[in-house]
């Protein structure tokens, strides 16, 4: 079977995997984002991102699910990246999280490197962040993300072509001396509109509180616009 067909199968299995999580608290929502990247010169670049969360379904372990729209929060981030090698960069930045009744701030440090394996373009991101809020203790996270892009026609992704993108990430967090682990799996179908614009539709699946606590499953329908 063609590798691309296999990957698409995985994508659809992940879409239908919500039943697996019947025993966990499950939430479903939309996660639209706009991601603007600008190369200042050969070495420096800036990235601005706006992302917001909207819940449409909530099911705790003790009750049946409820379909109800609820605005959750919006994130605005600004990052500065510096190339440190042919395919690697160091990124520093800040994020502001705006919730209906609170605002928190995050500082971000990332090291990103990418390479090519046959037709796959892959990127590794090792990152740490610190979230400060007036209502909660500071949260420290250390995370690793692996991303792969597979062209769905030809050997590379050209303009007006589709691609499949898969992100998987492990996040370790410490807050108030409590350790936690979160796992994410995010399959996306992307389309290159032109040299500057890409649009992606995907499912951001998050398994939160893996250690000790009641595991929570959240699935976001993501719509990403890269410009």
């Amino acid at each position: 079977m063609n590798i691309r067909i296999k990957l698409l199968l995985v994508f659809f299995i992940l879409i239908s995997s919500k039943d697996i999580c019947a025993q966990t608290q499950t939430r479903i929502g939309f996660l639209p984002s706009i991601n603007y990247n600008h190369e200042i010169n050969k070495v420096w670049e800036v990235n601005f991102k706006f992302e917001s969360r909207h819940f449409v379904f909530d099911k705790s372990t003790s009750q049946s699910g409820v379909f109800k729209y609820k605005y959750s929060l919006s994130d605005v981030s600004a990052l500065v990246g510096r190339k440190v090698g042919l395919n690697s960069k160091v990124v520093l930045g800040v994020l502001t999280r705006m919730e209906p009744d609170a605002v928190s701030y995050r500082t971000i440090q990332q090291f990103i490197f990418q390479n090519k394996i046959e037709n796959f373009r892959v990127a590794h991101r090792i990152a740490s962040d610190q979230t400060f809020s007036s209502t909660e203790p500071t949260e420290f996270r250390l995370r690793y993300r692996f991303s792969a892009e597979i062209p769905l026609s030809g050997l590379i992704v050209d303009v007006k072509e589709f691609y499949f993108k898969f992100n998987t990430e492990a996040l370790n967090s410490i807050q108030d001396n409590e350790y936690d682990l979160e796992l994410r799996a995010v399959p996306n179908i992307g389309y290159v509109i032109n040299e500057q614009n890409k649009i992606e539709l995907g499912l951001d699946n998050r398994f939160v509180s893996f250690i000790d606590n009641q595991t929570r499953f959240t699935s976001w329908v993501t719509i990403n616009w890269f410009l």
Binding site: K42, L79, L86, I112, D158, F226
Partner: protein, 193 residues
């Protein structure tokens, strides 16, 4: 090179000081079915006798349309290009540096040392040009016949003037430099951010 979208052409004679002309390289390729391939192209590939699956691609650039067969033969990755009529254009396959004769390799190495503070091979490909029959013989014997025009296409990471970039450099059979291109890699913001 299929890994590139935009390539800046640089004169190999005036290597770094003068960028004569910046060109945008437009290229698209699609996988196509073997049934649509011209018989002459199909016969040429069959005559090589590769056991691996042949993948056919149609490649469209601003200047022309070519048909490309990609496969593995004798543990080497081959890429063979035809025009739309099925006439052979180019044969290239990936080799290891030890497969270049030591005299030629030393010359190439010497040239690269003079161009870059530091460099590292990413990929070396041999190109064969000549009559179909001679190319088949050369591939089968793993040695080019006298009538075959050989060249080497090298992709390397090179550091020059403190800046590390990816380059595609062509050398002729004698190890003399014939062309150099700076490879501008595709944007990967959707993978990084």
């Amino acid at each position: 090179m299929k890994t590139t979208r935009i390539i800046l052409s640089i004169s190999f004679l005036l290597l770094f000081p003068l960028v004569l002309k910046a060109q945008h390289k437009y290229e698209r390729e699609y996988r196509i079915k073997s049934e649509t391939i011209q018989q002459s192209a199909q016969e040429f590939i069959d005559s090589i006798g590769s056991d691996s699956k042949i993948k056919w691609y149609k490649e469209i650039s601003l200047n022309d349309i070519t048909i490309e067969a990609k496969f593995k033969h004798d543990k080497k990755k081959f890429s063979i290009e035809f025009d739309t009529l099925g006439i052979l254009q180019d044969v290239e396959f990936v080799i290891k540096k030890r497969e270049i004769s030591s005299a030629v390799y030393n010359k190439i190495e010497h040239k690269l040392d003079s161009l870059f503070q530091k460099w590292k091979f990413q990929k070396i490909q041999t190109h064969f040009k000549g009559r179909n029959k001679d190319i088949i013989t050369s591939i089968n014997n793993n040695e080019p016949t006298a009538s075959i025009k050989v060249s080497y296409e090298i992709v390397l990471k090179g550091k020059a003037l403190g800046n590390t970039q990816l380059y595609e450099i062509t050398f002729n059979e004698q190890g003399e430099i014939r062309g150099i291109l700076q490879i501008i890699q595709d944007k990967a913001d959707h993978l990084e951010y």
